[in-house]
């Protein structure tokens, strides 16, 4: 082999054409197999003295998985980046958001300094319309100093007319790539082949300047005793160029080389060990290295030169020759390759080879066995592609499980349930050694199905096994068990968080996150943490915020900041910020949630989104917009299995908003249609009161509120009670009882103080009620001032990021005293309120002034308000 040394020749004209093209944004090289696209790109990229950085990506053969395509693209861009990114290496997620991924690649490219060239070779192998559409967007929105080069065998459905119109698209086609007669001569000279001018002309004419043909000819000519005769015979043959030349080339190889080429041709990539296995002989690695050195259509894939692949055309021709020459060996070769891949944990390759061997039952078994872990690895589109490769009509009961997996991911819950039933029946008859795997996969699917349906009892039933410890003989058993536990804890926690009154939710989600971290499943960890914030939302606003921000930070480290997995944390944070009147900040998080939810959703999370958006509109006094969002939220209720934590809030707010928007009669009609049980909920009672107030019947409003105030009506959380007090205050005011109105307002302020709730005051329209409250009668003057700001149309600035750190922290007792400073109570009065001595109050006040660097009471209050110290919940 080493006698044949065909060299790449410098094709100066083509390199210059590429240079000219690089002045535009995008270059497309579209030409048939073997035209020399890849060699040209390599020669162009390898020219010395190039000032730019270069990312080269080769699309995998028959790539149907958009996510795998984009992850590979992101990886090569990152590798070429300076400075190297400190983010976690990109990993797949079960629910892939293509749009967010394109944004990620664009921002990675935008962060590059200087010229950057992105080469995507073999783009025709990308069989995903989604991925091509996403790629169109990337190419259209390429940052300024980035140039992209695409090589493909045929024109692709990329919609690049905008670029073409703007003169930003360069195209190089087959005719441009053809070797001229002069270049043919140069190629032969460079390979040390002596041929007459007539011979060169003949060769050029016969191959029509086709690069692959010329290079095949060169390999055979290099050690041919009579090159002129070779060319003459070749020209006289009526067989196609490639076929004639590959047969000639193989004919001239030593037997071991020929055998290796044929037997390994059915692999997409090959290494020495694998080639030894398929040929049954040692020493394959040396042959592969020599073939690459000889430039004989073999290229190494890694810097260490351990993995190789054949040029596609060459490999395809070899494969045909293998099937013709050794047909009876082909299935056995595939099986041996599959076993090797399986031993090395490369399940997808293994399944593909078993399919190619025609062993469909075994392929179905393997796919069923591994679908659970493949799902956790985010290879859902790959699973779909593997399922589609089965011959139609063949019925493999194992595949029911795989179909159920795909159905569930695509939100087809009824189909998933039907497939699950078939899969369960099958699992009972499976041999014992496989039952464990199948049961794990089934359990995970059933959990996920029940959770997506919002079916609490179903999830509890499926998660019963959590009570017993992980058991199992092998490491694999234990690993599977841990993965299932983490999945179960996540689903359990989510459903508990959705069903009111199950404090276990937080514990389960925390345990699930911890376990996921231990077993190296960051996606599951982020999924648990994203829900954890939501689970704690009723207990404490501060904890909720902190947890949401932590979850978002972790998701961002993995590049999932805009994936559906983090949406629960995003929307919870958005909703949380509305409660405290930070409307502008809330709106930003809502927009982020919407971006993250562009792919999947599920009715539950969408409902949260509409609810938060509705509250935001309501907070800004836009009743009609609020009503629209709340109606959408209510509508989604029908897709969930039963009432959940949010049901009463959604309905209550919708009715109240309807009444406030001037439609009290419709609101009342809907109200009267509710069952007694639902109508008894605190949130619905509040809505009834709002309707009564609009109807001009404050006494009836008070009547509706009585059971919330005395604690006999169930409520979602204390936020409902704050609203109740305010509505009672409004009713008292209507009835002319100012004293009772003031008391109600003060109670609402007292409840709202720890979390600094603002929204209930704004939504109920309590501005006048609060303004009428004498300042000396409230100990919540600071909160009151904030609320009135929002009532008068401003959005409060975000709290938790702006505090200057240099302030020394106040002690809890100092904070208690601080709360009274905005009132006009004197120090002795404060002392008696707090049941401490005046001296103690004096000491605290001195410390407060010092720590806040304040001169007097009013500047201390001013500073404390800036630092948002007047409400920390510590006083409770």
């Amino acid at each position: 082999m080493d006698r044949a040394q065909p060299r790449l020749i410098g094709r100066g004209d083509l390199l210059a054409a590429l240079d000219r093209a690089a002045a535009k944004k995008v270059t497309i090289i579209s030409a048939p197999a073997g035209s020399g696209k890849t060699s040209l790109l390599r020669a162009w990229a390898d020219r010395p003295g190039q000032p730019h950085r270069l990312a080269v990506m080769q699309v995998q053969r028959d790539q149907r998985d958009a996510q795998q395509f984009w992850l590979a693209l992101l990886r090569v861009v990152r590798q070429a980046s300076v400075p190297t990114s400190r983010a976690e290496p990109p990993a797949a997620t079960p629910d892939f958001n293509g749009r967010a991924m394109v944004d990620r690649v664009i921002s990675e490219l935008a962060g590059q300094r200087g010229r950057f060239i992105l080469i995507i070779d073999d783009l025709h192998e990308l069989i995903s319309l989604d991925a091509l559409a996403q790629l169109t967007r990337l190419l259209t929105d390429l940052p300024g100093d980035v140039h992209a080069v695409l090589a493909t065998r045929r024109d692709l459905p990329l919609r690049l007319h905008q670029l073409r119109l703007a003169g930003e698209l360069a195209e190089i086609r087959a005719a441009d790539l053809r070797f001229s007669e002069r270049e043919t001569r140069e190629l032969l000279d460079a390979s040390g082949i002596a041929l007459s001018d007539a011979g060169v002309a003949l060769l050029h004419q016969r191959t029509e300047g086709w690069a692959a043909g010329l290079r095949l000819a060169v390999i055979s000519l290099a050690d041919h005793p009579d090159p002129e005769r070779f060319v003459a015979e070749f020209s006289g043959s009526d067989r196609t160029v490639a076929e004639y030349l590959i047969a000639e080339m193989l004919e001239r190889q030593p037997d071991d080389v020929k055998d290796l080429l044929l037997r390994t041709s059915l692999l997409d990539r090959v290494n020495g060990e694998l080639a030894d296995l398929l040929t049954g002989r040692p020493g394959s690695e040396r042959i592969l290295l020599e073939l690459e050195n000889a430039n004989a259509f073999v290229v190494s894939l890694d810097p260490g030169r351990t993995w190789f692949r054949y040029h596609h055309l060459f490999g395809d021709l070899l494969r045909l020759e293998l099937r013709r020459a050794l047909p009876e060996e082909v299935p056995g070769l595939h099986r041996r390759a599959a076993d090797w891949f399986l031993r090395h944990g490369q399940v997808v390759d293994a399944i593909r080879h078993i399919q190619a061997a025609g062993d469909w039952p075994r392929a179905a078994r393997l796919l069923a066995d591994y679908s659970f872990s493949m799902t956790l690895d985010g290879q859902t589109q790959t699973i779909q592609a593997l399922v589609q490769a089965f011959p139609p009509g063949a019925d493999h009961p194992e595949l029911a499980l795989v179909h159920a997996t795909v159905d569930l991911i695509q939100g087809r819950l009824d189909e998933a349930a039907a497939h699950l039933a078939v899969a369960e029946t099958y699992a009972e008859t499976a041999p014992l050694d496989r039952q464990r795997r199948l049961h794990v996969a089934l359990a995970s699917l059933k959990l996920s199905l029940a959770r997506r349906r919002g079916h609490l009892a179903g999830v509890l039933e499926q998660a019963k096994f959590l009570a017993s410890p992980v058991t199992g003989q092998s490491d694999e058993d234990i690993a599977l068990g841990s993965e299932l536990r983490a999945v179960a804890l996540m689903n359990l926690g989510i459903i508990e968080a959705w069903s009111q009154g199950l404090p276990d939710a937080e514990r389960h989600l925390q345990e699930g996150a911890d376990l996921a971290r231990q077993i190296g499943r960051p996606y599951l960890e982020v999924a648990c943490l994203a829900q954890l914030g939501f689970a704690s939302r009723i207990r404490s606003f501060a904890i909720t915020r902190q947890r949401c921000r932590e979850a978002v930070a972790l998701a961002e480290r993995h590049g999932w900041g805009a994936e559906p997995v983090i949406a629960p944390a995003l929307v919870t944070l958005a909703g949380n910020l509305v409660w405290t009147g930070e409307f502008d900040e809330s709106e930003r998080w809502l927009q982020r949630t919407e971006r993250a939810l562009q792919t999947d959703a599920g009715p539950g999370i969408r409902q949260l989104l509409h609810l938060a958006a509705g509250r935001l509109h309501a907070g800004r006094g836009r009743h009609y917009e609020a009503l629209e969002e709340l109606r959408a939220a209510e509508h989604l209720q029908s897709q969930l299995a039963g009432p959940h934590a949010m049901t009463s809030q959604v309905t209550g707010w919708m009715l109240a908003t309807q009444a406030r928007a001037g439609m009290p009669s419709q609101a009342r009609a809907s109200l009267e249609a509710l069952t007694d049980e639902r109508a008894n909920a605190g949130e619905i009672r509040n809505a009834r009161a709002v309707i009564c107030l609009v109807e001009g019947d404050p006494a009836a409003a008070l009547d509706a509120l009585a059971k919330v105030l005395d604690g006999t009506a169930p409520v979602v959380g204390y936020v409902t009670v704050v609203e109740t007090h305010l509505l009672a205050g409004l009713a008292h005011r209507e009835l002319g009882d100012q004293r009772a109105a003031n008391q109600s307002a003060e109670r609402a302020l007292g409840l709202a103080e720890p979390d600094r709730l603002v929204l209930p005051f704004v939504m109920t329209g309590s501005g006048e009620l609060l303004e009428a409250l004498p300042r000396h009668e409230t100990v919540h003057a600071a909160l009151l001032a904030d609320i009135l700001d929002v009532v008068h149309g401003s959005s409060l600035a975000a709290q938790d990021q702006s505090s200057p750190p240099q302030t020394e922290e106040l002690s809890p007792s100092e904070l208690r005293v601080l709360r009274y400073l905005p009132t006009n109570l004197s120090r002795p009065e404060i002392a008696s309120e707090l049941s401490v001595s005046v001296n103690t109050v004096n000491t605290h006040v001195r410390n407060i002034y010092a720590k806040l660097q304040a001169r007097d009471r009013s500047s201390a209050v001013q500073r404390a308000r800036e630092l948002r110290l007047l409400s920390t919940g510590l006083t409770r």
Partner: protein, 82 residues
Amino acid sequence: MDPAPARYAIRIHGHLGATVLSAFPALVPQHHGADTVLTGLLDRSALYGVLAEVEALGLDLVEIRQLGPQPKSPESGESRSP
């Protein structure tokens, strides 16, 4: 929906040898001058499969023709020369 399978004639420049022909087991080859014409009954996805194979092997595709409406019986179809 896929239209019904139809008979196609796919004309490729050059004479295909046994190796390359083995890539098209469902088609009947015939030499026509310097070209090879492959004929057979193909549904839509099989047609695309054949075209992908032609592309992958770097063959020089001259023409694809659909041969009239589907004949009643395979015999009558075979008797018609492409």
